[in-house]
């Protein structure tokens, strides 16, 4: 269940960025999670509520951009969708690939709540 550790790391990043932005509240957070990143979305979502409880991310909307795994075959040059590590090249059957996308594990953005205008 390393997804909980991942949620704690996300909270740490969010807290730090919020502090740099001068405080306030976080309305939404967007994450980039690749198909080959080793993160299960169901586990992440399960861990999310526990991990953000009592933090600056509690109540924030969670948007996850699932990025498709993409590889280029080292033998024939075919570029293909690779949702699993063990997928073979659909063109020549080779297992030697370079990963082009799908290993992302990033906090893409934070949306802050509008600050009340002081009078």
């Amino acid at each position: 269940m390393h997804e909980l550790s991942i949620v704690y790391s996300i909270v740490s990043i969010a807290r730090n960025e919020l502090e740099k932005a001068g405080g306030g509240a976080i309305e939404a957070i967007a994450l980039d999670i690749g198909e080959l990143s080793g993160i299960e979305l169901t586990s992440l979502e399960f861990a999310w509520d526990i991990g953000v409880h009592g933090t600056c991310l509690q109540g924030a909307a969670l948007h996850i951009n699932r990025i498709a795994g993409q590889a280029v075959c080292a033998d024939c040059g075919e570029v293909f969708h690779k949702p699993q590590r063990w997928d073979a090249c659909p063109s020549c059957g080779s297992f030697l690939h370079g990963i082009q996308a799908g290993e992302e594990l990033r906090v893409k953005s934070l949306t802050l709540a509008e600050m009340p205008v002081s009078t």
Binding site: H2, S9, I13, K20, F95, L105, K108, S109, T111
Partner: protein, 278 residues
């Protein structure tokens, strides 16, 4: 990781202790380090490298970050790597499922190799010092990390363990991760080489079931080969399955129990240590 400063989740849950000869000096609770950081005005030095970018014309409430979620762990792993490099230590991260024989292989390796090459060990388990006790009996310096509910070691835990362990220069450091083929895959510790250990009683399709860990390992040790006549395990099938998730990993087959094949493992350790020095 802890939500305060990323030094591993609930501070009191992770303990680090020296086992064996120096044990009287002893039990270092993780809370010590954590409390000091808080007293220093809650400073998070290495988190501050990320820069929020405001693009003109965009919602001013939107902070574009593009920050690596594992960035903090990776930075700490690089610090560990620098420490190892400065002291000429070859650090190995041993990962496997529980019961594959990591500790048995280590015991034998220490007994037979440490006279020619100094060794130190960091043991990771959720609970108990059982493994560290076994290692301490070989005479090697060892620190036990108990992760509490944690399912993997991270770079911060290893960093804390390095202080009481104080491994000698020009040595091998074996870091025995928590027995788990899933979670340790994502967390760099600062190791030079990641070694996955699989035993023949586990099934030759493990690389397909747990692709991330085998993808990230440069060396795969196949243990308990003395049991090959009794189990439906094919070394050829294992090699084929490995080739599907990893590019040309080195495979070393041995039995930590009978000693068959261990010389190849020792030779790999010697060669890697020598080339690491260069």
């Amino acid at each position: 990781m802890c939500t305060t400063c990323g030094c591993s989740q609930p501070a009191e849950a992770v303990t680090v202790q020296l086992v064996g000869l120096k044990q009287k000096d002893a039990i270092l609770k993780a809370g010590g380090v954590h409390a000091q950081r808080q007293q220093r005005g809650h400073h998070h030095p290495s988190h501050e490298t990320g820069v929020a970018v405001q693009v003109e014309g965009q919602d001013p409430q939107l902070l574009q970050l593009e920050l690596d979620i594992l960035g903090e762990n990776n930075r700490l792993a690089e610090r560990n790597r620098g420490y190892f490099e400065a002291k000429n230590i070859l650090a190995l991260n041993l990962v496997s499922s529980p019961g594959s024989g990591k500790t048995s292989l280590l015991e034998r390796t220490l007994r037979e190799l440490q006279a020619e090459l100094p060794c130190a060990v960091i043991e990771g388990d959720q609970q108990t010092t059982n493994d560290a006790d076994r290692i301490a009996a070989t005479g090697a310096p060892v620190v036990q990390i108990n992760t509490g509910k944690g399912c993997h070691l991270d770079a911060a835990m290893v960093r804390r363990a390095l202080k009481p362990l104080n491994p000698p220069s020009d040595s091998l450091l074996f870091i025995e991760n928590v027995g788990n083929l899933v979670c340790p895959a994502l967390f760099e510790l600062g190791e030079a080489v990641r070694v996955a250990i699989i035993s023949v009683t586990e099934g030759d399709d493990k690389p397909l079931k747990y692709p991330d860990i085998f993808h990230s390992a440069q060396v795969v040790v196949v243990n308990k080969i003395d049991l090959l006549p009794y189990v439906p395990f094919s070394l050829d099938a294992l090699r084929h399955n490995l080739s599907r998730v990893s590019h040309n990993p080195r495979v070393i087959c041995l039995s930590a129990y009978t000693g068959e094949g261990v010389e190849a493992w020792y030779q790999w350790l010697r060669d890697t240590f020598s080339s690491h020095q260069a």
